[in-house]
Amino acid sequence: MPPYTRVPFLQTGSLVVGNRLLAPEQRTVQADPARANAITCGHRACQGCGEALGARYALDAAMRATGGDVIAANATGCLEVFSTPYPESSWQLPWVHSLFANAPAVATGIAAALRAKGNDHTRVIGQGGDGGTVDIGFACLSGMFERGDDVLYICYDNEAYMNTGVQRSASTPPAARTATTQAVGPDPGAPFGQGKFVPLIALAHEIPYVATATIADLHDLEAKVEHAMSIRGARYIHVYVTCPLGFGVDSGDSIRIARLATETGYFPVFEGAYGDITGVTKIRRKLPIETYLKPQRRYAHLFRPRRRDEVIARLQARADRNIARFGLLETGPQGNGAGVTGADANGDALGRVDQLIEAGEIL
């Protein structure tokens, strides 16, 4: 690889997409012309849809890991609606949509059927948005986890019910404006002290693999999916995905917002196994939460008509707590190598990424 060629790193705006700097076997699945295209083009997702991007990377990685031997069960939601408007389907793999709340249980049934038939090669993925996962589908998800069913469940978390027009879910963060937590009254937006972080709940089930990822680090997402496909049992990957509509950001900023989510400590990227956290993706340079909030119109009421410093401070405290809790700034072990978090893949390249950030060429 040409270590000192100056690369703009702008294709996806990610810290780690320096694909051309990597050895061929480390390159992203999407760089492979023979990739599965599990969700093929022509679907009806919005421009800049983080879920469409995340799902394409995740499923193509799963397809590569299994030689295309995957069945997917999908919850109701944007991903289902935009991918299968009658009579068209974007899905290049066997795919079933049953209901909003039952994707994990449908996946359980598929896995059971394969086992009953002695099929030990075909793998099963369940997937849905945050509504279908952390809210209405949570019981089925927990049941699938505790039974240890051989299913990888992927949640694409855009922090509200975007399909129905941006209503609050249990994944909606405090202060965020949604159609059911509007920016009105003395405490505009979603309340503090509510919501849940399902990756840690998944971890509490002591399943063999739990990971978080974002669409800012798609190579990491691919690696985590590939790792998940290398093990058996119930596995969970929770992917932060931007929704331009719901967040109120420009379509072209989807990835930048996701990167800010990690770099501010707002969204911790980590891996765990059997109840323990086994690795975290460090923040290379901690940014104030305001840099994450300000570009999103769902937080506009924190800045206009007057600045609400007390609310911003509470959100900063939340991010700081993540940083402390997950050790996001400490030196120490990185992700387990499955989730190659860029730095390990190419220290030299990332060293220069730092410089680029300093120079303002990234972000």
Binding site: G68, D69, V70, I71, A73, N74, E80, V81, T84, P85, Y86, P87, S89, W91, Q92, L93, P94, W95, V96, H97, S98, L99, A101, N102, A105, V106, A107, T108, G109, I110, A111, A112, A113, L114, R115, A116, K117, G118, T122, A139, C140, S142, G143, E146, R147, D149
Partner: protein
């Protein structure tokens, strides 16, 4: 038919005793039936169980209100419960006690029974000595064999040996024989004197009817309904079973669980899911992946999976599910009626109702065949408790025979990486009507297929089971009772009685409620001038559900009066007396278009008055319970 009622307390083995009495009779080639008074009885609470013995098939499934014999397991009940209720002067009574009849101070109760048919036996003491535990069941059955001669002592002893292998069975068998001898010979163990077997009891049996012993028919067994269903399901070789417990369905999935765990049911995945919603969802996933999928539920569980029911049928997945019919709350009620499955009549599932445990076995076999031929889900509705917990004689088909009848599942659609398909895509107005119409068309095809499959079944297994309708003496009947499920047997008993009196009464059993066999119903009811639809469900705000369908079937056929009789809600027994009165009222023109059978209007009136008198009148279910005296507290006034 000999009808026996057993009174005990929870934990004393009243239910087991009834079952083993039935088993003893069965082993002698008789038909028999045992069932508990269903409920959530706790240790020590009064418990009633029932046993019927006959030399021909037993159709009735109502609780025994007029017993020919009583077995009193706990003598302390004598003055607490109306033990002797309904017992005729020719009845037999056996009481577990060391005391004499005089000491028991039965008073006028005893006078209702001929003295030589009223006996005590020290069953608990005999059990303590022979078994080391105070479980009087075997000794009482031994005594009962001596008192009535309705079963042989060898059969009683063997029933215990079979049920409890080893020392426990041997102890029980000794206890049974000792009590038998005691009652027969008046030894010290039998507290009252002058015992002698009573041939009068056997006279109640239909002597001369063909007796077929289990030894002659290898598949003939005496089983609890739920276990019989589990055995039938196992023979259908399900590949995925999702299970979630709910009374009164639970014994079915328990039975299947044991079979899978023990390795008897191979190539089958048994999944303990976290809800009925997940149970149906897992079945959807399994069926979509090409596996033969099964689950079972009841009542609230059926409602909890309702969304998934519509999904399974909409996707065209041939899942088979048993519904152990039970009421819906609130108020919470675990007993039988048809509210649950009736509430899902529009879910796109085929709904088959069975009237006996034999039919439950047979129709499950047919259900898989039907489901898989049409690629539609089928619900087999089995009355909760009344059938699921009834311990009856059934003939289980051999595995070979079932394999010959039901080929392996060959799906029309399957999730397969080699041939990827999208299932469950969104369909807009441009094709939704057509998709729904196709669902209707496919279900209507079942009107042809159900009789075809029933005929194929009859040919292979030599029994008539299933089908669309069961016409019982309807061809010249001016009055026909229409009903579904286990109450049909009870109605048929009454029809026979009334026919002997010259009344032209018939019974039409609805076996397939969805699809609705309108033409067949119309034809079957053509001779009738009065139709009484006996409904075990209520559509609040209109009344009958089945009767609306009957009205549809009879549209335009003038001169026939259709009555809706709401009965049996939440487990209220529909007895032969109930049916007799219903027919009498109908024939006398005293039946309104909709009536509630055995309704306690006084109870309702009191609550209505309370509501007028006081704004905060309180929860009405609790108020009414207070009024009937079940809750020991003064009524809110």
């Amino acid at each position: 038919m000999l009808e026996i009622r057993l009174h005990g307390r929870g934990g004393q083995g009243a239910v087991t005793a009834a079952e083993l009495l039935a088993l003893a009779a069965f082993s002698e080639g008789r038909h028999s039936q045992a069932f508990p008074s269903f409920g959530s009885e706790r240790m020590g609470a009064p418990v009633v169980s029932f046993c019927r013995i006959d030399d021909r098939a037993i159709r009735a499934h109502d609780p025994i209100t007029h017993p020919d014999a009583l077995i009193v397991i706990d003598p302390s009940l004598v003055h607490q419960v109306d033990l002797f209720s309904g017992l005729g002067t020719g009845g037999f009574v056996l009481i577990n006690s060391t005391r004499s009849l005089a000491e028991l101070r039965l008073g006028e109760l005893a006078e209702r029974v001929a003295p030589e048919r009223l006996r005590t036996v020290a069953a608990t003491e005999i059990a303590r000595e022979e078994l080391g535990r105070p479980l009087p069941g075997a000794a009482l059955l031994g005594g009962f064999a001596a008192l009535t001669g309705a079963v042989g002592i060898d059969a009683v002893a063997q029933a215990f040996l079979d049920r409890f292998p080893g020392a426990v069975g041997e102890g029980n068998a000794r206890a049974a024989r000792r009590a038998f001898a005691a009652v027969l010979n008046g030894s010290a163990d039998g507290a009252s004197a002058r015992p002698r077997p009573r041939p009068e009891a056997t006279a109640l049996l239909h002597a001369g009817a063909t007796k077929e012993s289990p030894a002659q028919a290898p598949g003939l067994v005496q089983l609890e309904g739920s276990q019989a269903v589990a055995e039938a399901i196992a023979r259908c070789r399900p590949e995925v079973i999702s299970a979630y417990p709910i009374t009164p369905q639970t014994h079915i999935v328990e039975g299947l669980s044991a079979m899978v765990k023990a390795g008897r049911l191979e190539h089958c995945e048994y999944v303990n899911v976290e809800s009925e919603f997940a149970a149906m969802s897992a079945a959807i996933g399994a069926s979509a992946a090409g596996a033969r999928a099964y689950t079972a539920t009841a009542s609230q569980g059926l409602l909890y999976m309702s969304e998934a029911l519509y999904n399974a049928s909409g996707l065209g997945l041939p899942i088979v599910m048993t519904v152990a019919n039970r009421a819906l709350g609130a108020p919470i009620n675990i007993w039988n009626d048809h509210s649950d499955s009736m509430s899902q009549r529009d879910s796109g599932w085929i709904q088959l109702y069975v009237e006996s445990n034999q039919e439950a076995v047979d129709v499950h076999l047919q259900a898989f065949k039907l489901a898989e031929e049409l690629s539609l889900p089928v619900m087999v509705c089995v009355d909760g408790f009344v059938l699921t917990h009834a311990f009856e004689r059934v003939e289980l088909p051999s595995q070979d025979a079932v394999d010959g009848f039901l080929p392996p599942y060959d799906p029309r659609q399957v999730l397969d990486p080699a041939e990827p398909v999208t299932m469950g895509a969104m369909v807009g107005p441009e094709a939704f009507t057509e998709v729904r119409y196709l669902a209707h068309l496919k279900q209507m095809q079942a009107l042809d297929l159900i009789p075809e499959i029933a005929a194929a079944f009859a040919q292979r297994f030599g029994r008539a089971s299933g089908g669309l309708l069961h016409r019982y003496r309807t061809s010249d009947a001016d009055t026909v009772i229409v009903a579904l499920g286990s109450v049909l047997g009870t109605i048929q008993e009454v029809v026979d009685e009334l026919r002997e009196q010259g009344q032209r009464v018939g019974c039409l059993g609805i076996k397939a409620f969805r699809p609705w066999p309108a033409e067949e119903v119309r034809a079957a009811l053509a001779p009738a001038r009065r139709v009484v639809v006996l409904e075990k469900a209520l559509s609040v705000g209109i009344g009958g559900i089945v009767s609306q369908n009957v009205h549809t079937a009879l549209e335009g056929s003038g001169g026939v009066a259709i009555h809706t009789a709401i009965a049996g809600l939440g487990g209220r027994p529909i007895t032969r007396a109930t049916v007799r009165e219903l027919v009498a009222n109908a024939r006398a023109g005293r039946l309104p278009s909709t009536s509630f059978i055995d309704l306690n209007l006084d109870l309702v009136q009191r609550e209505l008055e309370r509501e007028v008198a006081r704004r905060r009148s309180g929860p009405y279910a609790e108020n009414m319970l207070r009024d009937v005296g079940i809750v020991a507290a003064s009524p809110v006034t």
